[in-house]
């Protein structure tokens, strides 16, 4: 229990301390918080590894009146992903914030993107993500949804640049509408079944309009927050105009959080009553996302917008698991593949956004047409970008390859040729837009441009994230075994029981 509580209490305490202490001791708070969270997440992982899925009643009051925390393999894997990506990006953010010329000055000439305003929000975001992954109560999940959306919107608009403010406002509006749709679904579910706990709900739920109406509402609200095609309009400007460490977390973790919730609800609560056409519909939206996002990425002139549209495309892969889990024989493979894709994409996309941020710092802009010769000047950042791109394309031996291999195997074994075709085609399209950037970067520069030197920490963290993404492909059996603990397949497992 203490480890799970630690994953939430440590960042909350760190956030309050950053608020109170302002600039003093900032690096100590960061180091202490990161260490504490990694320790706590390690503790939860160890507990789940040894004892199987665990259920913690908060405050000693169990469901139905109290709130339960539920930690199974999926929870733990996502906690680990969050801890790893957030720790490395925190290191990047510290160096980025301390670096004098990260621009973002408002009309008074002062930058608003400062340590004092950043760290409390950052730790609140971390705490709310951890709370979301652990919670097993519908309403508590709504609260954590709102918490991380508000923190993300605040982080996005911290710099006060007009483009970021507009994009952040649009994100806030969309996000709040999505959360409210989810909440209405929760209200209907409570009205029908009288319980908010996921496990209890999965036992009493029956087919009928009182189930599919809230299910539709909640799924649509969460799809809005995830940015699945065609509800993705807010995503590219929001992710591209945010400060670099924030973009990395938005694309890497925040959109995965609402996807995780869709996964939880579909497979733990609604499973027997989800019609196959609903899964097909989500799969079609996912396919649309892959095609549309990739094609739009080709058209972009700015590097960060290209990477943001790449996120739109890669999110489509996650939803390809829904139609594939309709067939029992391939269900677990598809489910593992989708989740592994979320994991690999987090590392790859975070490293790509950090590398893009480094390029922006060095050149002062991120126009793709003028990136000639940047590879010679900033080899580490370009290497990080390239490694991230390899994972997105699905080339071995990256984490993305393992994920796409699992999905492809599931589609092939289930004889779903069109999903397999989409998977393969998406890989080709991804390769296309990644190579646009790499071709430019490795070209010989024709005009001399001044390239500012940037701190080593910034490039090092980007590269480390990318290398971890590749490592995910080499040690894939370990996370997959972890994922197997408490998974919703085979369906003979008593639903909801730890």
């Amino acid at each position: 229990m203490i480890w799970a509580a630690g994953t939430i209490m440590v960042p909350l305490i760190a956030a309050c301390m950053s608020l109170l202490l302002r600039k003093r001791g900032g690096l100590w708070i960061l180091a202490g918080a990161t260490g504490g969270i990694l320790l706590a997440v390690g503790g939860v992982t160890n507990q789940v590894w040894e004892q199987g899925p665990l259920r913690y009643p908060l405050g000693g009051w169990g469901a139905p009146l109290g709130i339960d925390w539920y930690a199974d393999g999926l929870t733990v894997l996502l906690l680990l992903m969050c801890a790893a990506v957030m720790s490395l990006t925190s290191l990047y953010a510290w160096s980025y914030l301390s670096h004098e010329s990260h621009a973002g000055a408002n009309q008074d000439g002062q930058s608003m993107f400062t340590h004092e305003r950043f760290w409390p929000l950052w730790f609140f975001l971390w705490a709310s993500l951890n709370a979301l992954f652990l919670s097993a109560d519908l309403f508590n999940l709504y609260v954590t949804l709102e918490l991380f959306s508000l923190s993300a919107a605040m982080l996005m608009t911290l710099g006060h640049q007009p483009a970021a403010l507009m994009a952040g406002m649009r994100y806030l509006m969309v996000s709040m509408v999505g959360s409210l749709m989810y909440l209405l679904g929760v209200a209907f579910l409570y009205a029908a079944y009288g319980t908010l706990d996921l496990a209890m709900l999965s036992r009493v739920i029956t087919a009928g309009s009182q189930t599919w109406m809230p299910m539709t509402l909640m799924t649509l609200g969460l799809l809005l927050k995830t940015g699945l095609f065609p509800l993705h309009i807010w995503l590219p400007p929001a992710h591209a105009n945010a400060p670099s460490p924030v973009s990395a977390i938005l694309s890497g973790l925040v959109v995965k959080a609402s996807f995780y919730l869709v996964l939880r609800l579909w497979f733990q609560v609604f499973e027997p009553h989800v019609s196959s056409s609903a899964g097909q519909f989500l799969g079609m939206l996912g396919a649309g996302a892959i095609i549309w996002g990739s094609l739009q990425a080709f058209r972009q002139e700015r590097l960060k917008l290209l990477v943001a549209y790449s996120t739109v495309a890669q999110l489509g892969y996650l939803f390809l698991l829904f139609p594939l889990t309709g067939t029992a024989s391939i269900a677990e493979t598809a489910w593992s593949g989708g989740i592994y894709h979320a994991l690999a994409h987090a590392f790859a996309k975070a490293s790509m956004f950090l590398a893009a941020g480094n390029i922006m710092l060095a050149l002062g802009h991120d126009r793709i047409n003028e990136l000639d010769g940047i590879a010679q000047a900033m080899p580490m950042s370009l290497f990080a970008f390239g490694l991230g791109g390899i994972s997105l394309m699905g080339l071995p031996p990256s984490g993305g390859f393992v994920a796409k291999w699992l999905l492809l195997t599931a589609a092939w074994d289930g004889e779903f040729w069109w999903w397999a075709g989409i998977l393969l085609g998406g890989g080709l399209l991804t390769a296309g837009y990644i190579f646009i950037v790499l071709k430019r970067a490795f070209a010989t520069p024709t005009v001399h441009t001044t390239i500012q030197s940037i701190p080593f920490t910034l490039e090092f963290t980007a590269l480390t994230l990318a290398v971890l993404g590749i490592l995910l492909g080499l040690i894939a059996t370990l996370p997959l075994t972890l994922l197997h603990i408490g998974n919703p397949f085979p369906l003979t497992l008593i639903r909801g029981e730890p």
Binding site: V143, L150, L183, A187, Y190, A240
Partner: protein
């Protein structure tokens, strides 16, 4: 139609009205108001859900949900309003650009 059904349907109608207004109106303050409408609609629905006809005492769980929801809505509204003010200060605009972003 019983009183509770009336409450519930009013709540859902408010939710729908709010959703329409968020999409249709361009001015940011109107959008924020519309989101508050949606929230109030959901709280009405929860109030209706709280009935326990046989015992006569209402169910406290939806009441707790409404209270928490109000707190969340207040903080979200506070942030949206301050963001709207900041947008107006920095850009002079009071609505989002039509084409979906920069």
């Amino acid at each position: 139609m019983s009183q509770f059904q009336l409450y519930g349907m009013t709540g859902v109608a408010l939710f729908g009205l709010g959703m329409y207004a968020v999409i249709a109106h361009a001015h940011l303050i109107r959008k924020i108001l519309a989101i508050n409408f949606m929230g109030s609609g959901i709280f009405l629905v929860l109030g209706a859900v709280a009935r326990r006809a046989s015992e006569g005492m209402p169910d406290p769980v939806p009441h707790a949900m409404v209270l928490t929801g109000i707190v969340v809505a207040v903080s979200a509204t506070a942030f949206s309003l301050s963001l709207t003010r900041r947008i107006h200060t920095e850009t002079g605009r009071s609505s989002l650009p039509r084409d979906g972003g920069t």
